[in-house]
Symmetry: C2
Subunit: 201 residues, 2 copies
């Protein structure tokens, strides 16, 4: 099992209790650099992997393969944890790394654990409340929607399909014991006020 673990925006106190537990339970903890290594240090030694800051696709791929070679043997036998600043699902190389590992070492299970993302943490840092819809931009085009307070997911998806959206996920009772995840054709007619829906073109 390989877990992509969110370490939060950089402050040692902003790790979750789960992050601390997984760092202690892991067979090996991998990190992408010094800041993550420092956050992990109170709980564990960690192995720093090389993730080059470059646009050179061949170099990125070759580094990913080297990293896969180090992580896969641990993940095949036990628990490999890859500690990442912020949240492992947003603008992160974790999903890319998993794809490379899957090519060379099929059958390894992947999971992520959330961390406080800088996308939302800035609001506490700056004292800026956000009480309306918003866009997040890193300069790339935006084909992704995150929808809150969707009461009629099936109807909403049908309407978004007309705008070119074709991938839909609904999470109900998130992180509770009775959490449910629905995809595409499985979307229910009605959902809880607290559900979050994802749509992508």
């Amino acid at each position: 099992m390989l877990v992509g673990l969110g370490l939060g925006p950089g402050n040692p106190e902003l790790l979750t209790l789960r992050a601390v537990r997984l760092l202690k339970e892991a067979d090996t903890v991998f990190v992408p650099g010094r800041i993550a290594k420092d956050l992990v240090a109170p709980y564990r030694e960690s192995v720093v992997l090389d993730f080059p800051m470059t646009d050179d696709e061949a170099k990125i791929r070759s580094c990913m393969k080297e990293n896969a070679k180090k992580i896969a043997p641990v993940a095949e036998k036990g628990l490999a944890v890859f500690g990442i600043l912020g949240d492992p699902n947003f603008f992160s190389t974790f999903s890319r790394l998993c794809a490379v590992i899957e090519e060379t070492h099929p059958g390894i299970e992947f999971r992520t654990e959330p961390g406080i993302s800088s996308i939302t943490a800035f609001a506490s840092a700056a004292g800026v409340p956000v009480n309306e819809g918003f866009t997040v931009s890193d300069g790339t085009i935006s084909d992704t929607k995150i929808l809150l307070k969707v009461r009629k997911p099936k109807e909403k998806a049908a309407s978004l399909a007309g705008e070119g959206y074709r991938e839909f996920v609904l999470v109900e009772r998130m992180f509770f014991d009775d959490m449910k995840v629905y995809r595409n054709a499985e979307l229910p007619e009605k959902s809880d006020y607290m559900s979050v829906m994802y749509a992508r073109k």
Copy 2:
């Protein structure tokens, strides 16, 4: 001092270490309902405040005033913590509550501490990586932008001003000891790769 404290999406292990510390240090912990009360229970007794699920503006305001009366005396003398599901800055009643407290008890200091928001946590729950810009919608209009990887904040703000944006905040080195927050005319020419910029119409 009144701290709006993010308790995360509902799982007891997704509290931060800071949340646990502040819950223990608080003179009184207030919560908006049973789910938050249960998350707080391992560390502290808490006082449940009444936040009605209604669109009746007069009723909301009268409840806010009642809550202000309970919180203000604690916050004036010591540390009042208000524990909120998710993050206290997103679609939260905390900023509204602060405004009401300020009217009746001026001089009380406010602060928020981030929690894992359901807006980002859904991605771990659903196994959906988000590696491009996205929009977040709760049905309201969206006059807010969160910009990542802005290298030239002053230039970017000038260009957004042309689209009607008029409020700008930049957070550099977020949650590190040397964090800097720049507002409007203070925006620097250049900023760090990891900065987050906020813009609102």
